[in-house]
């Protein structure tokens, strides 16, 4: 019997060994694959187990975390949610993340290895760090002035500091409160559906994700190209642009809304926005150089990130002369985001050098230790410095004497350009009102702000919509906010 007992014992040993081998397989060999199975809720639970790191504007956090005591424990909260939504985006347990919540997710969730004091050790122990902080370049007063200036009308404001590329304001209106999407309750589902079906499209980030025909505001780009190419050498000299101007190769007459545009100088054309002069200059510059200049300003760049992706602004690569003429006054297929047009103004203000715009100033640990900090980087030099100086002067004149009068701030150098963009089939849509501008204290060495305002107010009377009438006053309050409390 002893022999058989021993054999039975061997059987037990085999069963024991099988169990151990199987457990090793499960817990070591296949563990990674099982952990990553999408049906495994553990990563989600871990993600929401701790308060998320915060996004900071002007020394104050604009986000927070709420302990729900649910399985997915912490929910995102927002202070002034609608005001900062185009900056923060949302962090939803159901719908994922967008904008800074998305691009900076690793830092905010605490999974970024940079946050760990001992990265390798933390990899080994699979421990999470407390979520880090994202300190933005946004200035709260500028952001608020822009949001209140739009006053709920459809539109957007993008503002940045020309010499550094720091984005001072990103406003989209009407906006929404990202807190509505934080949790995973039926109310969140309802809010999601409502926000997505609303005709106002409140979740659209008009400042960086929507492109509009820039209209006359684009004439700054055309002027830069014409000056750089020495098509125009004296901005005050008469040009050979005739009014009426027939689009090349067609019988279409290009209309002017401004008077006395026949053979007008570049200076006059920018001040009163002569379509004929700018279209003619664009055609004379030629497609190749027009395109080159536009692209140096940032057009056709699908890879621009701030760090959220910015929709590509477009300037067509293949066009006939008639189309080029229209494109040169910001019509035809030309389209730009408000941020893109703010970059145009910034390049002029900064002496022809365009600095890459950015939104994240610093990343710190929860304790405040800086993990990384942004440095200004040149994006392109779309025009030479002399051209930039000429354009600065012309833009100041446009504000002082031209269509941008309502953006003037006493005692401050403000340069601007209005734009009223036709759109829709046969231009039947309500036109968009543009205003791009920059401002500099007289004694300051650098411009304080460059910005673009777009108002797409469907409620207004069509005749009333103009860059000078609707957008310039908003630019003014934003400029005032930017200059206030900035030394002198």
């Amino acid at each position: 019997m002893t022999r058989y007992i021993r054999r039975a014992a061997t059987l037990c040993l085999v069963m024991l060994a099988a169990l151990l081998v199987n457990v090793v397989r499960l817990q070591l060999l296949q563990a990674g694959e099982l952990r990553e199975n999408p049906a495994n809720r553990r990563p989600l639970i871990a993600r929401y187990a701790d308060p998320r790191g915060d996004i900071v504007v002007g020394g104050r956090t604009v986000t927070g975390s709420k302990d729900t005591r649910q399985q997915l424990r912490y929910e995102r909260t927002y202070h002034d949610g609608p005001l900062y939504a185009p900056v923060t985006g949302y962090s939803s347990q159901l719908y994922g993340t967008t904008l800074l919540e998305h691009t900076e997710d690793e830092t905010l969730a605490g999974t970024d290895p940079l946050l760990a004091p001992l990265p390798l050790w933390n990899d080994l122990t699979r421990s999470r760090q407390p979520g880090g902080k994202i300190v933005t370049t946004i200035r709260a007063s500028v952001q608020r002035a822009a949001y209140q200036g739009l006053a709920g009308r459809r539109g957007a404001v993008a503002a940045l500091e020309p010499s550094t590329g720091r984005i001072l304001a990103l406003v989209s209106s009407p906006s929404y409160d990202p807190a509505l999407l934080s949790g995973n309750s039926p109310a969140v589902v309802a809010a999601w559906r409502r926000l997505n079906t609303s005709p106002d499209r409140p979740m659209l980030n008009r400042a960086i994700r929507q492109t509009y025909p820039p209209g006359s505001a684009f004439k700054i780009v055309t002027a830069a190209a014409a000056l750089d190419a020495r098509i125009v050498t004296d901005p005050n000299a008469a040009t050979d642009a005739r009014d009426p101007y027939i689009l090349p190769g067609t019988r279409t007459r290009l209309p002017n809304r401004a008077p006395r545009c026949d053979r007008a100088s570049l200076s006059y054309a920018l001040r009163y926005s002569c379509n004929t002069v700018m279209a003619h200059l664009g055609v004379r510059v030629g497609l190749h150089r027009m395109r080159e200049t536009a692209e140096k300003f940032g057009f056709n760049d699908a890879g621009l990130r701030i760090p959220a992706r910015v929709a590509a602004s477009t300037f067509d690569r293949e066009m006939g002369p008639d189309q080029l003429a229209l494109s040169s006054i910001g019509q035809f297929d030309t389209a730009a985001t408000p941020l893109q047009m703010a970059m145009v103004a910034a390049a002029v203000a900064n002496g022809g050098e365009l600095v890459r715009p950015y939104l994240v100033d610093r990343v710190t640990t929860r304790g405040g230790r800086t993990v990384s900090a942004a440095l200004p980087r040149t994006y392109q030099r779309p025009m030479n410095p002399v051209t930039a100086q000429v354009l600065q002067r012309l833009m100041i004149q446009a504000v002082e004497k031209g269509g941008g009068r309502r953006a003037a701030v006493p005692g401050v150098r403000v340069g601007g350009k209005t734009g009223t963009a036709q759109h829709g089939v046969a231009n039947a849509g309500v036109p968009y009102a543009w205003f791009i501008a920059w401002a500099q204290q007289r004694e300051a060495s650098r411009p304080a702000i460059a910005l673009a305002v777009v108002v797409e107010d469907a409620e207004a009377n069509r005749e009333d919509i103009s860059g000078g009438g609707d957008a310039a006053p908003i630019a003014k309050v934003v400029i005032e906010a930017a200059l206030k409390g900035r030394g002198g």
């Binding site: 002893t2 039975a8 014992a9 151990l20 199987n22 457990v23 817990q27 099982l34 553990r42």
Partner: protein
């Protein structure tokens, strides 16, 4: 193995005289210190759960430690005075497993505030230890049980049939409910059945092994000898199949085959057993939807995810083990409650795997292995066939059960609902396991107390069987 070389030629001196009757050392002090360690480990675990979950030592940690310590102490005293030669590892392993089970159940209770199982489990554990002490005190010699073989089997069958009269729970008709308590009679039946198998096989092993017809290379015993035992075995498996108690029926099956093999040494029985098992499993799998689902889940644990129905319990269990990795998340820090309703019973091993990791889980499995090994060792050392078969039977119950459950929740074999000995929530299970350990203590005491002359003899005499219990001491 001191069998003298009797046929050796004369240069070899005559065999030495049989050594004086040597008894094994008692080693009760070892047992006591192991018990203290076991209780301390459990208190440490209990404290760790509290620290992880609420940042504070649970207020009743001292009471819990004292309670477990007292149970261990009383059990130890009973062993010390009534089974002083018993194997010193058995009791500490049982206390450690039971204590860890309480820790894990307490930990899982925190996730389900409305359904606290730990207090009831503690009551059942106390009852289990009381019965353990009762068995150690009252049963002075295991051979006494041999007389009650037929009583045992009758009681076992009656117990197993009882739940048919009660409503099913979660698809299985294996519980009896009265008052607030539920009770699983098949748990007790397995001890009774082991006793019966041991007694019957011990009495008839020669007839089973050497009589009857020979077909091809298999020696078939006469129907008269084989009949009763196969009938009883088939009856119990049939009853369990009726009650959908898959786990216990596979346990009984394994138990029967192992004991039959050990008693007769006929490999053919294993072959016949496996054949029968295959046929039975196929039949049940084909006609019983409950079983077929389990087999399908085992073959494709993630099929329900692909079908958009969310992870099955088995998939959740596999996720738990994977989450634990090498070191585990730490007690209280895992999410094995995602498994759902059976987390405290059938799937408690998943919590151990997630929170104690591969290291802790392997330690647990090795503890069971040690318990089984000690049972086998007692069986090897005993002289009487009944005792040997009983020890092997009881140890095999634990071995098969651990294999079936652990294999089930880790996806090695199809899942069958059964309770992890000592670890899982379940009163009848804890009580039964304490009785099994009590019986193992009793047989190991006999094994180690008897004069050590090597191997036990295979055929006890009538005289041996009727020797007054404890007279050897």
């Amino acid at each position: 193995m001191t069998a003298p070389a009797a046929d050796a030629p004369s240069p070899v001196p005559p065999p030495p005289p049989a050594p004086p009757a040597l008894r094994m050392p008692k080693r009760r002090g070892v047992e006591l210190s192991l018990l203290v360690s076991a209780v301390l480990i459990c208190v440490y675990g209990y404290t760790a759960v509290g620290l992880t979950r609420s940042g504070a030592v649970p207020p009743d940690a001292a009471a819990y430690g004292a309670g477990l310590g007292l149970l261990a102490l009383f059990a130890h005293l009973a062993v010390r005075f009534r089974a002083p030669y018993a194997d010193p590892l058995l009791l500490p392993i049982a206390v450690l497993l039971n204590g860890l089970g309480l820790v894990l159940i307490y930990r899982l209770d925190l996730e389900t505030p409305g359904d606290r199982a730990a207090p009831a489990q503690l009551v059942w554990s106390t009852l289990g230890v009381a019965l353990f002490i009762g068995v150690v005190l009252a049963l002075r010699d295991h051979r006494l049980l041999q007389r009650y073989a037929y009583v045992s089997v009758a009681a076992a069958l009656a117990l197993m049939m009882l739940p048919i009269l009660f409503p099913p729970v979660n698809g299985a008709r294996i519980w009896i409910r009265f008052g607030g308590f539920s009770f699983q009679p098949s748990e007790f039946a397995k001890i009774l059945l082991a006793v019966f198998f041991a007694a019957y096989l011990a009495a008839n092993r020669n007839a089973l092994a050497y009589t009857g017809r020979r077909v091809w290379r298999l020696q078939f015993p006469t129907g008269r000898v084989l009949g009763p035992i196969v009938t009883i075995w088939l009856l119990s498996v049939a009853v369990l199949a009726l009650e959908r108690d898959l786990g216990t029926s596979s346990l009984f099956f394994g138990l029967f085959v192992i004991m039959l093999y050990v008693a007769t040494g006929r490999t053919g029985w294993i072959a016949v057993g496996l054949l029968l098992a295959g046929v039975g499993a196929f039949a049940v799998g084909a006609f019983e939807p409950h079983v077929r689902v389990r087999v399908q889940e085992w073959l494709a644990p993630f099929a329900s995810i692909d079908a958009g129905l969310g992870p099955s319990q088995l998939a959740q269990s596999l996720f738990s083990f994977a989450a634990g990795g090498m070191q585990g998340t730490g007690l209280g820090a895992g999410h094995s409650t995602l498994i759902g309703f059976a987390a405290k019973s059938d799937f408690i091993l998943a919590t151990a795997g997630e929170e104690l990791g591969l290291i802790g889980l392997s330690a647990l499995i090795l503890l069971y292995g040690l318990l089984v090994a000690r049972g086998y060792r007692a069986g090897l050392a005993l002289r009487d066939s009944f005792g040997r078969l009983l020890a092997i039977g009881l140890a095999s119950i634990i071995a098969v059960q651990v294999f079936v459950i652990a294999g089930g929740v880790t996806g090695l074999i199809p899942l069958t609902g059964m309770a992890m000995p000592f670890l899982a929530q379940g009163g009848s299970s804890v009580v039964t396991n304490w009785i099994i350990v009590a019986l193992l203590i009793r047989v190991s005491d006999s094994a180690r107390a008897q004069p050590s002359d090597g191997e036990g003899t295979d055929s006890p005499t009538l005289a041996e069987m009727t020797t007054a219990p404890g007279s050897g001491r």
